[in-house]
């Protein structure tokens, strides 16, 4: 599944990094706890989260997470978008809940991160 296909499944809007929409995703993770993300998430994945701060992007950067999708209509601030742009992390926003967002991607065949 590409980021573009994930965005379509989530009815999400791309707010940063639309040049990366055709990149292939390997897996997905839904979490607000960045400590867990740092411990279990794999490269090439999409992170679905309701947490909106710069450290979500930093966490994605360290792990080579391709894309972060903010759920429940949460919008990243300009400094968050700037950091995402500098670090090459694509940002999506969608209106559905974290639970539903995870369910939609899983239903479309995108597997969960299995950890290290």
């Amino acid at each position: 599944m590409t980021i573009r296909q994930a965005a379509e499944a989530l009815k999400a809007t791309c707010v940063c990094g639309d040049n990366n929409l055709d990149k292939q995703l390997s897996s997905a993770c839904g979490a607000d706890l960045m400590s867990d993300v740092l411990a279990f998430v794999k490269e090439g994945s999409i992170l679905l989260t309701g947490m909106v701060n710069q450290h979500v992007i930093r966490t994605a950067e360290m792990l080579d997470v391709l894309c972060v999708c903010f759920v429940r209509g949460k919008k990243p601030t300009e400094d968050i978008r700037d950091l995402a742009l500098r670090t090459g992390v694509t940002l999506l926003v969608c209106d559905i809940t974290l639970y539903e967002a995870c369910g939609r991607l899983f239903k479309h065949g995108l597997p969960a991160c299995k950890g290290m």
Binding site: L33, S35, D36, A39, E43, H55, T59, D64, M116
Partner: protein, 139 residues
């Protein structure tokens, strides 16, 4: 060590907005040197966890990166107040992080165990004068 590349990064206590900048620089240095991406990720995750720990818990310190042809070494040393019980701190889920840090998605007590998981050799020494983490990653 004539073949060594070294760089030092100052880590400021409680400066949560800039936390992660040193780890991001470390990651970009490793990329420029053409290090294997999966090794870079392991170093980056360990560095970021260590940097966050220093920002959240210590009164500041330094991260020293040394790269030789066969090893990446990351020495993280702070100026205190030290870890009261290292064995307990190494347990997954144990945390002394304050509420505001937890509200930002950190402080789940996964940091030190995750650092250990990502490096090839892990050493920690701590007293009231500070904590020294010596992390090695084989190339």
């Amino acid at each position: 060590m004539p073949d060594a590349f070294t760089e030092s990064f100052d880590i400021r206590a409680k400066d949560f907005s800039s936390a992660g900048e040193a780890s991001a620089k470390i990651k970009s240095v490793l990329r420029l040197l053409g290090i294997d991406p999966s090794l870079i990720r392991r170093v980056a995750v360990a560095a970021y966890e260590a940097e966050l720990n220093m920002v959240i818990h210590s009164s500041g310190g330094k991260m020293n990166l040394t790269i030789t042809p066969d090893c990446i070494a990351l020495l993280c040393s702070d100026t205190g107040p030290g870890i009261a019980d290292i064995n307990t701190a190494m347990r997954e889920g144990f945390s002394t992080a304050p509420h505001d840090i937890r509200m930002m998605g950190f402080g789940a007590g996964m940091g030190l165990p995750n650092i250990k998981k990502n490096c090839d050799t892990f050493s920690i020494v701590s007293d009231s004068g500070g904590t020294v983490l010596d992390l090695r990653f084989l190339i």
